[in-house]
């Protein structure tokens, strides 16, 4: 039998019970639509997260105190450690080192106040972190040497305190009750949550050490940012720094009391997390596709029973098992194919809707309907149709012609 004829006949048979076919298709539509939308949201979230991590810079290394759980009494990182990393003989791949001291501090101006992240930095921080200044200047060597009470504000902080981001330089704010002069405003980078750089304030390292965050050791720092010459130099720089720190901290081999992260390793972690997230969402949506498939099987079994006599007749005039099989498989495959096509449109529309909602609520997720998600959903729904159509079709094909013809 020619394929075209099989498809036409299957269409005709599905059309003979429109409501039933439509409801069966609906199960697949919802399943495929959900899979597409969930994968789109997952991909969108992943893009947002990796995008903001990439913004950190591809050639950055983060060095933090503490090794794995077995290392006891890790020594703190110090300004001396940072200084040692600037040694261009011991660390030729390193072109910038920026130690930081972090904490939160209350900042107030004329009754307006907020608790923000305060970071003690050195002048090199500007180039290492790619910070740009809209007005005023960044912290310089003189500020650090003089332990000056000066501060560079993130645009969000400026907005909170002054209600504007311009003409602020020269104003005096209070940080933890102490007066600080605003010397600059950074360019908005965009961002969310606790790592939002727009909502932080930068002060000279020495000022932070003496006035805001007292640590047990006088030159102790929380983290050292290291800039490698380029993205490929990150791994060499990591080795060079590790050697320097091992030497300075006199640790045994394999017992590093510090940890380095590169932006790549952050990216990897983030990608792993968002992949799991995407797979989870897709899996939940996949369950509804499975339920849709069971709907197809259910309806096909009913259809086989209803058409037992027809099957008997077809066998009597010479239909082989595979002819009957093909006939019923064509019907279930068409059901899931229609479901898949409509589901793709629905999923796409749903993604757009979620994108619009998240844009309206300032959540920066831009759902992406990838061609791979569409392909996956199409293949998966066709497979569902074939798989769940197989059993009913087999049942139809295995009917004994004598029994089937006698069926009332």
């Amino acid at each position: 039998m020619d394929l075209w004829r099989i498809v036409l006949e299957a269409l005709d048979s599905l059309a003979s019970n429109k409501v039933r076919s439509a409801l069966t298709v609906l199960g697949i539509v919802i399943g495929v639509g959900a899979v597409i939308a969930m994968l789109a949201i997952g991909t969108g979230a992943q893009n947002t997260i990796t995008g903001s991590i990439s913004g950190i810079g591809t050639n950055l290394l983060f060095v933090m105190r503490g090794g794995n759980d077995e290392v006891r009494n890790p020594q703190p990182l110090t300004l001396g450690d940072a200084e040692a990393m600037r040694d261009s003989f011991a660390a030729p791949s390193v072109i910038g080192v920026a130690p930081v001291l972090q904490g939160s501090a209350e900042i107030t101006f004329a009754g307006e106040g907020d608790i923000v992240a305060a970071v003690g930095v050195t002048p090199e921080h500007e180039s290492v972190r790619n910070i740009e200044i809209t007005e005023g200047e960044f912290i310089n060597e003189i500020h650090v040497l003089g332990r000056s009470a000066v501060v560079v504000l993130g645009p969000d902080v400026a907005e909170t305190l002054f209600g504007r981001t311009e003409s602020i330089v020269g104003e005096s704010v209070r940080i933890e009750g102490q007066p600080f002069r605003v010397i600059g405003i950074t360019v908005a980078k965009g961002g969310q949550g606790p790592s939002n750089e727009d909502n932080q304030i930068l002060i000279p390292m020495s000022t932070a050490q003496t006035r805001l965050f007292r640590r047990s050791g006088s030159d102790q720092v929380d983290m050292i940012l290291v800039q490698a010459i380029n993205a490929d130099g990150v791994i060499t720089a990591e080795e060079e720094i590790s050697a320097i720190l091992r030497n300075r901290h006199r640790t045994a081999i394999g017992e590093d009391d510090f940890t380095t992260f590169s932006q790549q390793s952050f990216l990897q972690v983030a990608e792993t997390i968002t992949n799991v997230f995407t797979i989870f969402l897709g899996g939940v949506a996949g369950i509804s596709l499975l339920v849709g498939g069971i709907g197809i099987m259910n309806i096909m079994l009913v259809s086989v029973t209803e058409r037992t006599r027809e099957i008997g007749l077809r066998k009597a005039v010479g239909a082989r098992k595979r002819d009957i099989m093909l006939q019923f498989l064509a019907e279930s495959a068409l059901l899931s194919l229609f479901g898949g096509l409509i589901g793709i449109v629905l999923g796409w529309a749903l993604s757009m809707l979620i994108g619009a909602i998240s844009a309206a609520s300032n959540a920066d997720i831009n759902p992406v309907v990838g061609i791979d998600a569409v392909l996956l959903a199409t293949i998966f729904s066709a497979a569902v149709g074939l798989f769940f159509g197989l059993y009913p079709a087999k049942r139809a094909a295995d009917l004994e012609p004598v029994e089937a013809l006698r069926y009332e």
Binding site: L313, A316, V317, R322, P401
Partner: protein, 230 residues
């Protein structure tokens, strides 16, 4: 090729219904020559439907040998039986068994589709419908046709693949007497014009009266096989 369309020897059929074995046929020998018109008669439970199913290759005998049109069919697989039904046997059922959503023409084309005929399918289906006098009703669906017309579509479907024999199972059972006579006449004309072997399975002595040979069954055995002198 032998002159016998049907050569069956020692045909038995045993059904299992739970623990009980039902002996539907207990050793039937039948030979039917090409072009013969035969009635198989018998009361309910005599085994005549079982015999028809086996002779029509819808079912296999439990034991015995059966050769249809020169080929041994007792040992064949499902798909080979399907092919034999397709090419060598035409069925006419009491309840017509047409596909309700298809036109008369598509119904008649059905066996050719399973046979893989694609070229002159439409033409042959038209010819078959014209042969049963329905040349003007080809686009009608079964529910737009009378019982007699539906049965004529079924006959056209049975003869479209030029089978060796046509098996008619109570072909007039669902028809009024006038249509019934017409249907029997169409079948007899086919026999006269094309030489198709005709086997009627029936209760109806009226039909049996038109046939030259009557085989009577009772309790799974042939009790009488007589040639009617005309």
């Amino acid at each position: 090729m032998s002159d016998w369309v049907i050569e069956a020897e020692g045909i038995t059929k045993v059904y299992r219904m739970g623990d009980i074995e039902v002996h539907a046929l207990r050793g039937v020998d039948v030979r039917i020559a090409r072009g013969e018109i035969v009635s198989i008669m018998g009361p309910s439970g005599s085994g005549k439907t079982t015999l028809m199913n086996i002779l029509g290759c819808l079912d296999r005998p439990t034991s015995g040998s059966y050769s249809l049109d020169g080929s041994q069919v007792a040992e064949l697989g499902d798909d080979q039986l399907a092919e034999i039904r397709n090419k060598k046997v035409g069925f006419v059922f009491q309840s017509f068994n047409l596909l309700g959503r298809q036109t008369a023409l598509t119904n008649v084309e059905l066996p050719m589709r399973y046979a893989g005929v694609s070229n002159d399918r439409r033409k042959r289906a038209m010819e078959a419908l014209e042969a049963v006098g329905l040349g003007d009703r080809v686009k009608h669906r079964p529910n737009e046709l009378s019982g007699g017309q539906q049965q004529r579509v079924a006959i056209a479907r049975a003869l479209v693949n030029n089978p060796s024999m046509i098996m008619a199972d109570e072909p007039t059972g669902n028809l009024d007497s006038k249509s019934g006579v017409e249907i029997v006449q169409i079948l007899l004309d086919l026999n006269k014009n094309l030489g198709t072997t005709l086997i009627f399975v029936t209760h109806d002595p009226e039909i049996a009266a038109h046939t030259k040979r009557v085989i009577s069954l009772l309790d799974g055995l042939i009790t009488e096989d007589r040639i009617v002198e005309t």
